[in-house]
Amino acid sequence: MEYVSPEGLRLDGRRPMEMRQLRAEIGTVAKANGSAVFEMGNTKVIAAVYGPREVQNRSQQINDQALVRCEYSMANFSTGDRMRKPKGDRRSTEISLVIRQTMEACILTHLMPRSQIDIFVQVLQADGGTRSACINAATLALADAGIPMRDIVTSCSAGYLNSTPLLDLNYIEDSAGGPDVTVGILPKLDKVTLLQMDAKLPVDIFENVMGLAIEGCKAIANYIREVLLENTKQLEYRRGL
């Protein structure tokens, strides 16, 4: 199948290096300590953060740092065919783990000893790149909850189809079976915290694809910072003197 037309356009009309439209909203879950909705094109994810709060299960308490937990789920209505998925299947456990590890790397857990931070992410609409969207939403929610972090984490995926590197794959491109590289970076520290690929790629092409994904992460980081700054300013001026 042809994923990039001779004119250099993808199936949804994007250029190979073009990202989908981003949209973020902070404070969508009223009772949570921090929450956000993040959209990348048709992929839509909601995240809620609770904590730092007292550890629920005493045996899991860590004496010198906070316990970070993460739960990823997909709403039944998120995909094209409405499927009843069992909670805690292999895919969602794996993604929960990935998100947890990525977020734990940026949270300054040693500042909140013996407490627990819960991150809940749910996919409302799935159109490829849910993993990246979840990480971006979780970052926003953590920042909204006022949890100290080394840096914001942003994530973006890139693939390689029809011998062209493509940024931010959608569902059709994702299910084409080509290589799919998901990268998560700390833009300020310039460090990679997440790198996943479920296919083989020659090293030189891999470098290209990963470079493209990092560019995408940086673009997302800029957007996220804008949203956060706007939100902070708004909170401050509303509060008044």
Binding site: E54, D144, A145, G146, E230, T232, R239, G240, L241
Partner: protein, 321 residues
């Protein structure tokens, strides 16, 4: 951006927007570039020595924010005041909490901190103000004082060396809160002031603005004189939980409580800082426009309050000049 989760009509949306823009223009002059987000570099003068405070970290010699908030500078200290975050206790703060556990000689209270706070039986005074003697019987009767899910008002006593938080309730004004509503708002909206207990006489209501963002609106109770030391029968009395007259709360009182609580809810939804004057003004506004209690949470009243607040702040700004 944090939006109101309310259905607004076209005119209401425009009015709200205008009021918020007015608020923005009023505060912008003071500090427009003091807001930072996570991983923003905070400009500091490296010639002078500076101390890095909360919400900052050192990255390759630069001072970098770790939370979203506003940069504050006090002498050499540079710190970031986080806005939306859980409560950071300071010694002497007045807090309202909910009992989550009764255990050996102590109660555990949820106060919106990263850990549960501890209220020791020994940091409570007897109902008549004398120090408690440690007896086994006293310990057995702890549930007579506070049970699980009771709402309690107390003061932050100190931090233990392991980071846990201790509370005390040594005066008559602290203790169990009954016949009222507990409201939970963001802690940054409640400012530290001299007075956190307010008696709203015209309504006969006690208002407690806990620094942890827990706000109590309840029927006024006459504080018993704490200094009376009645030695004669104190020992028996202390064992018996106080016999509160279980009279029913009159309808008018319940309406007052609801009206004030709804005023607090509106203010917190709009993100305005909450103090007793502003709450009273909002309540007055609601009665002058003759709005029903349940309609106070509707969009029209939110817009009205926003407009009123914009007006109030602009007046305050003029008076200062």
């Amino acid at each position: 951006m944090r939006g109101l989760q309310l259905p607004l009509s076209q005119t209401q949306r425009i009015r709200l927007q205008r009021a918020l823009e007015k608020l923005q223009s009023l505060s912008c002059k003071a500090n427009s570039d003091a807001s930072v987000t996570v991983a923003d570099t905070i400009p500091v003068n490296y010639e002078d020595a500076f101390l890095k405070g909360h919400g900052t970290t050192d990255l390759n010699g630069d001072l970098v924010a770790t939370v979203c908030g506003v940069v504050e500078r006090i002498n050499k200290l540079v710190y970031v005041r986080a806005l939306r975050a859980r409560y950071k206790p300071e010694v002497g703060d007045i807090v309202v909490g909910r009992v989550v556990e009764v255990s050996q000689k102590r109660w555990r209270l949820e106060i919106n901190f990263s850990l549960d706070a501890i209220l020791m039986l020994s940091s409570m005074n007897m109902p008549d103000g004398i120090q408690r003697r440690r007896t086994a019987l006293d310990e057995l009767n702890m549930r007579g004082i506070f049970e699980e899910n009771d709402v309690v008002c107390a003061e932050v006593r100190n931090f233990q060396h392991d980071g846990s938080l201790q509370l005390q309730a040594r005066s008559q004004k602290y203790g169990k809160l009954e016949k009222g509503q507990l409201l939970i708002v963001d802690p940054y909206l409640v400012k530290k002031s001299k007075q956190h207990f307010h008696h709203l006489e015209q309504f006969g209501i006690d208002l407690i603005l806990g620094r942890n963002g827990f706000i109590w609106v309840g029927e006024h109770v006459e504080a018993r004189d704490s200094m009376v030391v009645d030695q004669a029968n104190s020992s028996e009395q202390s064992m018996v939980p106080e016999e509160k007259s279980q009279t029913h709360t009159p309808l008018e009182m319940r309406q007052n409580i609801c009206r004030i609580s709804n005023a607090v809810r509106v203010l917190s939804a709009l993100g305005f800082s909450i103090d007793s004057d502003l709450i009273l003004e909002t309540v007055e506004l609601s009665s002058t426009v003759k709005i029903d209690i349940h309609d106070m949470l509707g969009s029209e009243f939110h817009v009205l309050v926003a407009e009123r607040e914009a007006e109030r702040r602009s007046l305050m700004g003029k008076r200062k000049r």
